[in-house]
Symmetry: C2
Subunit: 198 residues, 2 copies
């Protein structure tokens, strides 16, 4: 899509991320932006409620962005997504067995996906987050193993991508924003971008 929505053409938008999923999503707002990777140690206070962790980490990332690279029209976007079950956060699986265990945990019940986003300019910083409830059907061992073998979900929090095979055969219903589960709460992000003052 070469169409450009000109609402944000006065901004130099930088998505500070390595995620090709977030890149693809943001592009679908029909806006122009650049990407730069950013390496941040994702730590958070142990007492922080799970619902607030993603936003906290997105802010850490924004604050870690080099200040000297933020010019008067720069707008930096950072984001973080977590998957939580019973107040326990599922990270990225380390191996097949870990992925299997996570998908067993998610099977036949609902969990929360929270994406936090931080917008940072020279003189302003603003963060927010969105929560989506996702309900998986009872997954069979065959289905879990088929997915892990064929899709290698080791870069995904909770060991699944809702846009992949397992999201199609396994997710019964969601409540909230679908794109939030993929990595960016698109409607809310669009609104926040419109309302953000440099």
């Amino acid at each position: 899509m070469s169409t450009i929505n000109d609402q944000f053409s006065h901004l130099d938008i930088i998505l500070a991320s390595r995620s090709s999923r977030r890149q693809a999503l943001l592009r679908q707002l029909d806006i122009q932006f650049r990407m730069t990777p950013l390496d941040v140690k994702e730590t958070f206070p142990a007492t922080l409620p799970v619902e607030e962790v993603a936003e906290y980490i997105s802010r850490l990332k924004a604050e870690a962005f080099p200040t000297e690279k933020i010019l008067s029209h720069t707008l930096v976007i950072t984001a973080d997504t977590i998957v939580a079950v019973d107040n326990i956060i599922l990270g990225k699986p380390e191996d097949d067995a870990d992925a299997f265990q996570m998908l067993k945990t998610l099977s036949g019940r609902s969990h929360l996906v929270v994406t936090g986003v931080c917008l940072r300019s020279k003189n302003n910083i603003r963060s927010f987050s969105a929560i989506t409830k996702v309900k998986f059907k009872e997954l069979s061992d065959y289905e879990i193993n088929y997915y892990i073998d064929n899709y290698q979900p080791f870069d995904k929090a909770g060991a699944y991508g809702i846009q992949e095979w397992i999201g199609k055969i396994g997710v019964e219903s969601i409540e909230g924003s679908f794109y939030n589960v993929m990595g960016l709460p698109m409607q809310q992000l669009y609104e926040e971008l419109r309302n953000f003052s440099l």
Copy 2:
């Protein structure tokens, strides 16, 4: 994706549809199937509740499929999707003004998307449907016109595609299956395919 899930490899699956969206969705079940177009007059009794219209039409389509082409391992899939607001069904828009009016109607409120699916074999027929509630934010005239001009949603019931720009900037939340809004209730379809007896 060249991966093939072999659960359905004993079937000759035919998607009787012209919809490239449905084709793309069904392919993501990692199954092999063929497509054949099917032209059916989409009429339904005026007294039918709106929630039942999509399933009724999907069955009409399945019944219109040429019986002589259904062999012992053939499984025909047909589907229909409707968008309903206040018990009124929004069809495909005829022109810009019609699309504008539909999106104005959907703006700032919730509506229902119902997809009906019918599975037909030589000796069996089974239909079902899924309902998803979709909530749009208040859309500005600029946003509606930008979308119509750039995405030409004239092949879409209700004049929008949730996977397109307007779905990203406009849909606040959904309740139910996301893929149902795109045209197939994927998780339910997968389960029905597994349980269907030829």
